[in-house]
Subunit: 260 residues, 2 copies
Amino acid sequence: MDYLEKLKNSNRSKGNYLCVGVDPDPEKIPSRFEKSATGIHAFCKELINVTHDITPAYKFNLAFFEIWGSKGWSILESLINQIPDDIFIIGDAKRGDIGNSSKFYAQALLKNLDFDAVTINPYLGSESITPFIQQAEKGVFVLCVTSNPSGRELQDHGEPMLYIKTAQICQKLNQKNNVGLVMGATKPEQLLEVRKNFPEMPFLIPGVGSQGGAVDAAVQVCNAIEAGVINVSRGISYAQGDFPDNIRKSAEKYTELFKK
Amino acid sequence: MDYLEKLKNSNRSKGNYLCVGVDPDPEKIPSRFEKSATGIHAFCKELINVTHDITPAYKFNLAFFEIWGSKGWSILESLINQIPDDIFIIGDAKRGDIGNSSKFYAQALLKNLDFDAVTINPYLGSESITPFIQQAEKGVFVLCVTSNPSGRELQDHGEPMLYIKTAQICQKLNQKNNVGLVMGATKPEQLLEVRKNFPEMPFLIPGVGSQGGAVDAAVQVCNAIEAGVINVSRGISYAQGDFPDNIRKSAEKYTELFKK
């Protein structure tokens, strides 16, 4: 089954576009968990336990695991194994290197860790993306428009703006239906514009939860191709209320908001 | 001692600008080493053993360690500990994320792994760089002009070209003398142009060895500020001849070529 098909199936079977972001911050997890590798492991296990029956996707931000060194990597391996096979799993690694090095990253993330897709930074061009899209079953979401304010400094540079150039490169690379774009929800007009001009690539949409992006536009651009993921990290993991009910309730709220 | 001072001292004491790239490829290391985590660990130990008295800097490309999962991370920790304190150590991680996540990467790489500097991808803007330059003793080399052919796709976009915009952002951020640029040697005219317009930031220069970049321009832009690193990875690790003499001889050749 190819990347896009797996994502579509997962969206269809759960009936929504939620992606639960797994970004365990030791300063923010409930006090019942130790501020340690063991503590964040236990927290993430519970986060997955109480959401896996309603979410079509998870996204792991590797920064939050790398701070634990080799232990962090083992935790990542163990958590990925815990997730049912039909759920789409994204490694939010934002990698990108010259071709020879990107090959090693692709093996580390898509083969060894067995992510379905990873996020890629396009600054080094097509060559840095190609090693990640050799097999139709695995793919990428390439950073196009990011949800942070300083993302505009380079992404809006030039005519056409750089993010359009990024999307054009990605469209050209999308021969096996396994290239998607990271499209922040903080600017709904950009979301709709890129969907209109690039009608085939799925979007990974951050910035809807604690960053306050537009829900309607996000759902609309996913519905247009019946595939996509709208990520919420802090808005679920650190939602108001008693753990783990707070997580379940918040995740349920987002599955409603992001209904297919 | 701040980042730039440490780099200058290291260049001065060794009398050259060489940076030995540590990118252990199991398919290319001598057959006496196993194609395994243990094998690449032993190879890298020997690579450092026979070069540490003549090189001012090492650069570890994280892709080549991530393929070994948690073991790879442990090897990285162990190799960094093996290197004498006065040598400048770069983590070639090409990270970059929204501010909150970049903080975690900064802790993982500059504090926990104790690199002196890491390479950063600027696509997400200043916010992704700031967490790495909070302390004057630690810093970054931001990807500006990369040495791979497809690097031109985005980096030459717009007017002025995007890489100039990147250098401008970096100059503005360089309040603590701890921001440098990755400037590929494949286009000597760009090297000289960026040095002229940005006379303060040190360069990390890849692309001189197996990629065939211009040696003279590389040395010239380092001499202009008496600091910098010219990286050679494959040209040293997999040089012709019997191991480990091949490595020693090739490293000696480059210290001559990159003489201060």
